[in-house]
């Protein structure tokens, strides 16, 4: 599971990986973000 958020400004999703994060992890995270956005869009349209 990917965890990225900020409690002090909940409308902002912060990505604060370690500075030595391996390159491929960024790809993995970008994929997860894309999936989450697609799923959220679907949910939003279902409830609209």
């Amino acid at each position: 599971m990917l965890v990225a958020f900020t409690l002090n400004a909940p409308e902002v999703i912060r990505f604060e990986p370690p500075l030595n994060t391996p390159h491929q992890l960024f790809d993995e995270v970008a994929e997860k973000v894309a999936t989450a956005l697609a799923e959220t869009k679907k949910l939003v349209s279902e409830f609209a």
Binding site: E16, P17, P18
Partner: protein, 357 residues
């Protein structure tokens, strides 16, 4: 499970803070963390979490960087806490190492255990050094939640329950040099700013703002405190974010990643000029645990890692392609994502309806 078979979430609810327990449970994060390494955290059931929260700026070197853990373990075997009767070598070495890399003539350091303590100390030392009392801070800023730091924090939701806060603190809009010029008069001891507002939602001020504020403070005889608790230690692609504009503050505040993600450690850095009165009366501000050898050993190892692994440069390089992908996603989902902001390695998505991914 705890000793009596109660889960950590239930024990938090009963004995720590029920509201916090409910918030984490609501977010689906009600498991107990048992192990961490690099970018990952594992819970009791062996589930792996990819940690892109980073402890709000603490884990710039990842969890348990082997070199930092080794340095702390070695110091633990020798002497973890100060006897307070002799000088402590790790404290001396860390101060000297920080003096080498911090901007301008900053060369004196006071060590503490957190960012908030660094802010508190700097506010006191700025009043001491200037002989003035007024403090200017930015709206939407975050400097911590103790009374002094909160008085400089421009977030109503944290301030209002505790009013009245300290007198003679004035808030101005962040990024607006004209407003700063208006507020800055000869009664002002110091201006305190984050180079980039972190907790406020990552707000990057216009290029040139910090340099203008530096100039204004010089003209009016006020001191400049830069709170780099979150932006320091390579996070923005520079060792310290103020390097982006070549600004040299009178005080620089560090914490979070300074302890290498292994120990709590904070620091106030200052120039010889702002330290002079403190040196006449060195016990006027102190801390029992601040600057303990264990935390300073972590700080020294963190600086080694920052420099030898060239993490600031790496942050700048790796951040760009990731940001480009986030920007593309924001363009694909304009109804969900309002904006994507970044300063080098730092990337943030400002969501419309989505709270968490």
């Amino acid at each position: 499970m705890n000793g009596d078979g109660e889960s950590a979430a239930a024990a938090y609810a009963r004995h720590v803070n029920d509201g916090l327990a409910r918030l984490l449970s609501f977010m689906g994060l009600d498991a107990a963390a048992v192990r961490a390494e690099g970018c990952f955290v594992w819970d009791e059931q062996g589930r792996r979490f990819l940690d892109f929260l980073g402890g709000y700026g603490v884990f710039s070197f990842g969890h348990r960087h082997p070199r930092i853990v080794a340095a702390v373990t070695a110091q633990l075997e020798r002497m973890p806490l100060s006897a307070k009767i002799l000088f402590d070598k790790p404290t001396a070495e860390l101060a000297a190492r920080l003096a080498d890399i911090t901007p301008g003539s900053i060369s004196k350091f006071f060590f503490c255990n957190s960012g908030t303590e660094a802010v508190e100390g700097a506010l006191k030392l700025a009043r001491l050094a200037s002989g003035r009392s007024r403090i200017i801070y930015a709206e939407n800023s975050f400097h911590g939640k103790t009374l002094g730091a909160l008085s400089a924090t421009g977030r109503d939701k944290y301030r209002e329950p505790f009013l009245p806060l300290l007198p003679e603190f004035t808030g101005v809009p962040f990024g607006d040099a004209t407003a700063m010029a208006k507020a800055l008069d000869e009664t002002v001891a110091a201006v305190i700013l984050e180079p980039i507002q972190g907790e406020g939602g990552v707000i990057v001020p216009p290029l040139g703002y910090l340099a203008e504020v530096r100039e204004l403070t010089r003209q009016r005889g006020a001191l400049l405190i830069l709170d780099e608790v979150q932006t320091g230690m390579g996070r923005t692609g520079y060792n310290f974010a103020c390097e982006r504009e070549g600004v040299e503050p009178d005080f620089i505040l560090l914490a979070k990643a300074l302890g290498g993600g292994v120990m709590p450690l904070g620091a106030i850095g200052g120039t010889p000029e702002v330290w002079a009165k403190f040196e006449q009366n060195p016990l006027i501000h102190s801390s029992t645990f601040g600057g303990n050898p264990l935390a300073c050993a972590a700080g020294i190892a963190a600086l080694d890692v920052l420099q030898e692994e060239q993490l600031a440069e790496r942050a700048a390089q790796e951040g760009e392609p990731f940001l480009a992908r986030l920007r593309k996603l924001a363009a694909d989902y304009p109804d969900l994502v309002k904006e994507t902001r970044s300063s080098r390695s730092r990337c943030w998505s400002h969501s419309r309806s989505m709270r968490r991914k």
